[in-house]
Symmetry: C2
Subunit: 131 residues, 2 copies
């Protein structure tokens, strides 16, 4: 998850008049800030695990839009600490929020990003499984 600065434009040849002569880069516009790329990668990284996607899906499709850790733990062949670990990653990426009520903690999609998150899931889940 290391990050690197884009090289200064001056470091690369400025023009490509004759396209076939040599590899003279047409450097593209200020594409994406370093911080922006890092932040976006963090969000995608939170989504880059089957368990976490399933957790999100379970929460998104649950009757009340929330699920407690014990609900989730019961749904996987995996220890409770692992589920807590995944929940923390989703929470750090601002995808879910926890609400402690009594002894239980109920997780739901972050208010206001509800539709955005469901949209991301839907986009990806439309992809055919291939082969």
């Amino acid at each position: 998850m290391e990050i690197q600065e884009l090289k200064n434009k001056k470091d690369v040849a400025p023009n490509r008049e004759n396209d076939e002569t040599c590899c003279v880069p047409t450097l593209i516009e200020p594409a994406l800030g370093v911080k922006q790329a890092r932040k976006a990668a963090d969000v995608f990284n939170a989504l880059a695990d089957p368990t976490r996607l399933t957790i999100l899906s379970l929460i998104a499709r649950s009757e009340r839009g929330e699920a407690c850790v014990c609900d989730l733990t019961a749904s996987f062949n995996m220890g409770q600490p692992s589920i807590s670990h995944h929940l923390k990653i989703l929470k750090d990426a601002d995808l879910i929020q926890g609400d402690k009520r009594g002894k239980w903690v109920y997780y739901s999609l972050v208010a206001g990003r509800d539709e955005e998150i469901k949209g991301l899931l839907d986009t990806i889940l439309k992809i055919p499984l291939g082969v």
Copy 2:
């Protein structure tokens, strides 16, 4: 990137009539197939790196919708093998395609998934950088 089956429904208590008594999971509907979750996680994983996001952004915003490896290599403080490695990951996730013309290989967004990919990038890049 390990995957696990959802536990059988029978493994968890079936009802939650009295909400406050105990943690009796309301198990949610067949949320997400294992294969589907894995495939989706692979795609998100390909997007979960700042360098790869920047590469995608450079390609998407380039004048002709494509860039050769030397263009990209010139844009990063990183060796050419590393760029090739990232390109392979993006290609394996069916996000980009390579076209060899002469000595050069030109990469572009996969035809037909053009808009989908740009949509994913836009969704995430709208996220405020926060703190």
